[in-house]
Symmetry: C2
Subunit: 316 residues, 2 copies
């Protein structure tokens, strides 16, 4: 790999830096889900994180790492999802400006989330091309620094702190399951595993309808998504030039699972664990329940990535 | 009061006894809800308790306190709610039998909950008279010991451990808010406040449509509910002969709030805190948001009593 990867010290330093601004999220377990799966499951509840997702870690870290000159220019990104809120929040906390390019079709709840954190929203057509072009224009006009949602080493280093905490909170784990979309959380998880618990396997879980990570991993080359279609709206994105090599080198496996299993697992977590998770966060448990993974007798860490859902439009 | 109240030592002993069988539930906070209310709110998440409610504490404690002869006879109760599951669970754990009288109209999810814990279910007509009569018949036939859901000192002592933990987890609190139905949780909370944080006020919150505790407290005599009607199905019951005097003597106040405010607060907690709470657990936050209580500048403990809801029948 050409990229210099975050070191063990940079991950520890990231944890120290972001600590005042994020939750040390609880680790929950459920006797009923243990009985159902035959494993001993430890859920790292990033749905209970600030702004409702692990994204607050990476965005906070990236913004705290800006130099003075960069800080004065502000930050920008395009996102219709959790990174948008997380970046606007990090900018507000640190007293810098943020510009968020959002598709004009973005749900009102997500637009309001960014507005709550005083982000400047620029709407565009709902295509990747329009989003990238609009972001380029914003950066031309403002000089803002782009904070990519996942293909950014400072973001990845921030996301790595979720799994660092998981290892601190849980007993020794046989395996950690992590959802994969763009691969920021997965890359951070792999690095934390390498440094802090090298004997733990990390298996990524992905929706069948957006299986570019699985395809890329199996082919050994980056294969972007074409028309991804899944209920797990946080996992529609494709791997990036930084995240793909980390995943290819270090992931123990990637498995895919169908949307109906994702919805079933999501509802089961709400019912049995009494927590709200978004579809993207349910992919790992779905993979277990759909027999894509055998966790019998294993200690399993599962990263619940987020909890931002429209309560008026539930998928059951 | 004629009843000898649980002592400080009996509450500490209850906490030690039930510890292996219950969760030390997390204390969560939300910057957004703090901003919205002007207070500093600390939510004690008994919705994340075993079997989804604080009821697991009292039922577990009552069953662990049975003598050998009583233990051999088994336990019985009538309940369509969280106590039914909690008692069946406690009986299963301790290897005793349980008989649960349930109205034949009880939701399938609650019936299945009891079945999961191997409780023997006896269905009856959905009236209090039929429930009590059926329970009497069960006890005649089996010799089982009745474990009342709230009018029972061992149950109250178990419920007191929720607030004991709250005081251990939170900074010094100005006030604790607690929902009131039959008054078991509230009685335990008042006793724990008396022993462990005597300068903290305890204010009970009750649905307007089931305001027997408020009426009784204001009148200074026990006034049972007549045709209570509220979305907060855990709070339909009336105070009992043991809970009423504790509440009358020690509660700092009781406030009531309408169902629409309860539903609003419930949805807000799901949205902002990413946890599933039942309507009964939302009554305290509802009272704040409906301006029945002023928490400006105060440190406020709120006991989220449970999270058992039918996800297919949400009230919004």
């Amino acid at each position: 790999m050409e990229t210099t990867l975050p070191t063990v010290e940079s991950i520890r330093e990231a944890a120290r830096l972001i600590k005042p601004y994020i939750h040390r999220t609880p680790l929950l377990s459920s006797a009923q889900l243990n009985n159902l799966t035959g494993g001993e499951l430890f859920f790292k509840c990033e749905n209970l994180q600030k702004a409702g997702a692990f994204k607050s870690r990476g965005a906070m870290h990236a913004v705290l790492r800006l130099g003075k000159a960069e800080h004065e220019k502000g930050v920008a990104t395009h996102s219709s999802g959790n990174h948008a809120q997380a970046l606007a929040r990090a900018a507000l906390i640190t007293g810098t400006k943020s510009w968020i390019v959002m598709p004009k079709t973005a749900p009102e709840v997500k637009v309001n989330g960014v507005k709550n954190y005083e982000g400047n929203i620029i709407f565009c057509e709902p295509t990747l091309q329009a989003r990238e072009q609009t972001l380029d224009e914003v950066i031309d006009q403002t000089g803002a620094i782009t904070i990519h949602p996942y293909n950014n080493l400072e973001v990845i280093t921030g996301q790595a702190t979720a799994c660092l905490e998981l290892f601190e909170q849980a007993p020794p784990l046989d395996v950690v399951l992590c959802p994969v979309g763009g691969g920021g959380l997965l890359s951070g998880t792999l690095l934390s595993r390498n440094y802090f618990s090298p004997n733990t396997a990390v298996i990524a879980c992905e929706p069948e309808g957006a299986n570019d990570a699985w395809q890329s991993y199996k082919a050994g080359k980056l294969i972007p998504s074409v028309n991804p279609d899944t209920i797990a709206d946080g996992l529609l994105t494709s791997l990036g030039s930084i995240t793909f090599p980390i995943i290819l080198n270090y992931a123990n496996d990637i498995v895919t699972v169908a949307d109906d299993a994702i919805i079933h697992a999501m509802k089961l977590v709400w019912e049995r664990m009494k927590i709200v998770i978004e579809p993207s966060a349910a992919v790992c448990l779905a993979a277990i329940l759909a027999n894509k993974l055998d966790v019998t007798g294993k200690r399993v860490g599962i990263i619940l990535s987020g909890g931002n859902v429209d309560l008026n439009k539930l998928p059951w």
